[in-house]
């Protein structure tokens, strides 16, 4: 079949250092995945195209990128499904991470957050001589989470990470849940109190707005949001319910609106008008941060002349915020 792959390119060594779109019209097998199209381009058309890929079967986690605006694995997406009616597929690097070159992003922060949740089993008490005896259901349940291939698709599309890079994010929190839900981790009852306490801090489980983007993006059915909700339940059970994190979330959700959908987010701003400063002040700084971080590109970039003013205002607000 014939199709056009529109790739967002970026070469940090070229001048000007600007991303740009490039179209590659190609002809490829009906069963081809989006990854096959990119490999074809790289091998047969333009060797300068950089991307990560290895397994071709959705297991190594290398090839997460945005396909037609949403994160997914290129090797798990059929080209024929991704094509629009004009035979076009739009491919760009994963979001919420700095681009290194073309479709390759820098995952340093992603890995740092994984490390931050102390991702290794911490049983208390002596190890048994043979294996731990635990119910199969518990292991099957965990396998639903350990199926995570650390591809970063969820992180790419997480609406909170877009405005708050401090947030641990869906992948790290799902990883954390993999331990808090493990009967072998924590005390004799399998309760990982220390983990739950730390995860209740700012940037942890309470900062998720339950927008559901990560569930949609995840190619392995890990459903990070559901794991975060389960973490909250565990935390509340362990007595970590009334904390800054919890309150921070409530405020965020109330003011910014649920679901992180950009249009909803625009609404309050539009309603009160961008020059109505007192009304805007009513919104949480995080909401404004969203604005200055280009989360509302059409508004900020096109319509507002005084964006600098908004930014200054936002910085002022940040300065006067109470300690988190």
């Amino acid at each position: 079949m014939d199709l056009t792959v529109r790739v967002k390119r970026f070469n940090p060594e070229a001048e000007p250092r600007q991303p740009y779109w490039q179209d590659f019209p190609i002809s490829i097998d009906e069963n081809a995945t989006v990854l096959d199209t990119l490999i074809h381009i790289r091998e047969m058309v333009d060797g300068t195209l950089s991307l990560r890929c290895s397994c071709r079967s959705a297991i190594c986690g290398s090839c997460a990128m945005r396909i037609n605006g949403h994160a997914g694995l290129a090797c798990k997406t059929k080209a024929s499904d991704a094509m629009d009616k004009d035979g076009m597929i739009k491919v760009e690097p994963a979001g919420n991470m700095p681009v290194v070159k073309d479709l390759v992003v820098n995952l340093d922060l992603f890995w740092r957050k994984i490390v931050q949740v102390e991702p290794f089993l911490k049983p208390q008490g002596p190890e048994p001589e043979a294996e731990y005896v635990v119910p199969n259901e518990a292991m099957m349940h965990l396998s639903g989470v350990t199926a995570c291939i650390m591809c970063g698709a969820c992180v790419s599309d997480c609406t909170v990470l877009e405005v708050d890079p401090n947030f641990l994010g869906p992948a790290a929190l799902a990883k954390a849940y993999r331990f808090t839900a493990d009967p072998r981790d924590g005390d004799g009852e399998g309760v990982s109190r220390e983990r739950l306490r730390k995860l209740s801090d700012y940037g942890g489980m309470w900062d998720c707005t339950r927008c559901g983007e990560c569930v949609q993006a995840c190619p392995k059915g890990v459903a990070p949001m559901d794991r975060i909700m389960a973490l909250r339940e565990q935390a509340i059970k362990a007595g970590f319910d009334n904390n800054n994190g919890a309150r921070h979330t409530e405020a965020f959700t109330e003011s910014v609106g649920h679901s992180g959908s950009l249009n909803e987010l625009q609404l309050p701003v539009k309603t009160v008008g961008i020059t109505n400063i007192p009304a805007l002040l009513g919104f949480l700084p995080v909401g404004l941060r969203a604005l200055t971080h280009g989360k509302l590109p059409p508004l900020v970039h096109k319509n507002i002349a005084n964006v600098e003013f908004v930014r200054k205002l936002h910085h002022k607000l940040e300065e006067h915020q109470p300690e988190k």
Partner: protein
């Protein structure tokens, strides 16, 4: 300059296990990998890992016998004994580290049946065992705080004072070259699947370590023993795990007949891999297949079992072949899968070069001989990864660093790479050369082999090498230049391909994975021995090594 007592090249299961062991033995340890550790190919293992647990009434001798028989008596029995004895402890260690193995009703580790074994001793995590093990090993790597150079590609070794004393590596993200000094080096670079086209192996599996070691003077062994897996998906060649047959799936010809009854009436679909692959190919050649494939039928297993235990391979069928195995049989055929041969080591991972070790798929101990049993390879990586890590650490304690000039080593490599980048356009492409190699290997060194075909490939490889010496690299940049990485990998692959072809030509009998139509019988009198290759002045030099036989005398193999 960067320097470490023990430097491990490769961060798959073998590499990370080795690193953890080396660190635990007090060595200043680092690990280097061309991809992030969790992207390594160990991920791909679906089916499971073998171990004979005594508290289950199993014993290591049975496991050893199955392994030896599976190897067509080419495996070294002392090494197999080491592996099978260590299996139970290694498995429990992995469980303690956090692997979420499936359990039985009582909450003990559960097993599944795998090919070539008389009892179910394969432990598993759904059908993503390799990924589960690899991620847990990475967790332990984090826990141990071992220095890890990620997305660093080793391009050459530094040899001075008669020793391998360091490596030069390309930091892929920046394009910078670095020299790293090391007292001991452990190769854990995995297999060489991409030498063949198609292959079940990931795109990064390019035999780098085998080629690097070969150039440094290491001995490669059993290189003719290339495993073709019986169930690879039509088209992409992606693997459908043996777990499917372990759970009871059938192989059918175009008339819906279970043809394995002709070839292995007892073990049927679960005979050893070489036997099943040859049977399929025989049927396909006789016109009993459809479009070069036969069928794998799982329908009778039921939706529940498939979803619980085979979910990942079901997904692969749907994604890549548009076939849901709950509802229909899926088209499969034999495809290149695993390399039994590799860098020859002793049971401690030591090669014939002082201070140089190897473990995992790139090594040849030889525990797999002529044919590897399913689920023995993960075990191999863990057991010999650990042993080589401990031994390399101990050896490093006795050694001093060789004081070579990092600047000179880097400069040599820079010049070589710059020369590649400077080549003029000539219309040729790295990918075309690779494809030429892969197709030639798959044509003449697959399930059935014979002299003239193999000679043709040896000849073609010479031509491909000549093309490779001139092939242009399109991307001249420094940052994440994957084009350059592929070109360098192709060089490694061509060397590996040559050693495979010459070894296969040398062996004039049919044993394990090698079936020669011109020598169709196993000939113990003349060929019950290993074939080894080293790099000579002009090309590969062949020698023969004895097979270690302890207490199991070779007999005819029947399944």
């Amino acid at each position: 300059m960067l320097e470490h007592d023990v430097l491990i090249i490769g961060a798959g299961l073998a590499g990370m296990r080795a690193a953890i062991a080396a660190k635990a033995n007090g060595a200043n340890t680092a690990i280097i990998s061309k991809v992030h550790p969790v992207r390594s190919h160990s991920n791909a293992a679906q089916g499971g890992i073998n171990a004979a647990l005594t508290d289950r009434g199993d014993n290591w001798e049975d496991h050893a016998y199955d392994t030896i028989k599976g190897s067509d008596f080419l495996g070294d029995q002392d090494a197999i004994e080491v592996m099978c004895r260590a299996a139970g402890r290694s498995l429990i260690d992995m469980e303690h580290m956090g692997v979420t193995f499936n359990r039985d009703e009582e909450g003990h580790l559960g097993t599944r049946a795998f090919g070539g074994q008389r009892r179910a001793r394969t432990f598993f995590v759904g059908d993503f065992t390799g990924q589960a093990l690899l991620h847990v090993m990475f967790e332990q790597l984090i826990k141990s705080g071992i220095q890890s150079y990620e997305e660093w590609f080793v391009t050459s070794l530094v040899q001075e004072e008669g020793r391998v004393c360091g490596v030069v590596a390309l930091e892929i993200r920046t394009g910078q070259l670095h020299a790293i000094r090391a007292k001991t080096v452990i190769f854990c670079t995995g297999g060489l699947g991409r030498v063949f086209e198609p292959s079940t192996n990931a795109l990064i599996v390019t035999g780098d370590g085998m080629a690097l070691a070969y150039h440094a003077g290491a001995r490669l062994m059993d290189m003719e023993m290339v495993q073709y897996h019986p169930t690879t998906l039509a088209g992409s060649g992606v693997l459908i795990s043996e777990a499917a047959r372990g759970e009871g799936a059938y192989l059918l010809d175009k008339n819906g007949e279970r043809f394995m009854k002709k070839y292995a009436p007892n073990m049927m679909e679960l005979a050893s891999r070489d036997v099943v692959s040859r049977s399929e190919q025989t049927e396909i050649n006789a016109g009993n297949g459809v479009n070069g494939c036969v069928y794998l039928d799982c329908r009778h297993l039921g939706e529940k079992l498939i979803k619980e235990k085979l979910s990942q391979i079901r997904e692969i069928g749907i994604d890549l072949a548009g076939a849901d195995m709950v509802k229909e049989p899926i088209p499969i055929r034999p495809g290149m899968h695993y390399m039994m041969g590799g860098i020859k080591t002793d049971v401690n991972g030591l090669t014939n070069l002082p201070g140089v070790y190897a473990a995992g798929e790139c090594a040849c101990v030889s525990v797999h001989g002529g044919n590897r049993l399913g689920a023995n390879s993960l075990l191999d990586t863990i057991v010999f990864g650990e042993r080589s890590g401990s031994h390399a650490a101990a050896a490093a304690g006795e050694l001093k660093f060789v004081d070579f000039s990092a600047a000179a080593a880097v400069q040599r490599e820079e010049q070589r790479i710059q020369a590649m980048l400077n080549r003029p356009q000539n219309g040729d492409r790295v990918a075309s050369v690779r494809l030429g190699m892969g197709e030639s290997m798959n044509r003449n060194l697959a399930v059935f082999r014979q002299k003239t075909g193999m000679e043709e490939t040896v000849q073609e490889l010479q031509e491909l090498k000549a093309r490779f010496a001139k092939v242009p690299v399109e991307n001249k940049g420094k940052v994440f230049n994957t084009d350059l990485v592929f070109a360098l990998e192709l060089g490694f692959m061509l060397d590996c391909a040559e050693t495979i072809a010459v070894s296969a030509l040398e062996r004039k009998d049919s044993r394990g994975a090698q079936f020669r139509t011109d020598y169709p019988k196993r000939d113990d009198e003349n060929w019950l021995k290993h074939i080894a290759v080293t790099k000579g002045e002009v090309g590969p030099e062949i020698s023969h090594l004895p097979v270690t036989i302890t207490k199991w005398t070779p007999e005819e193999r029947k399944y």
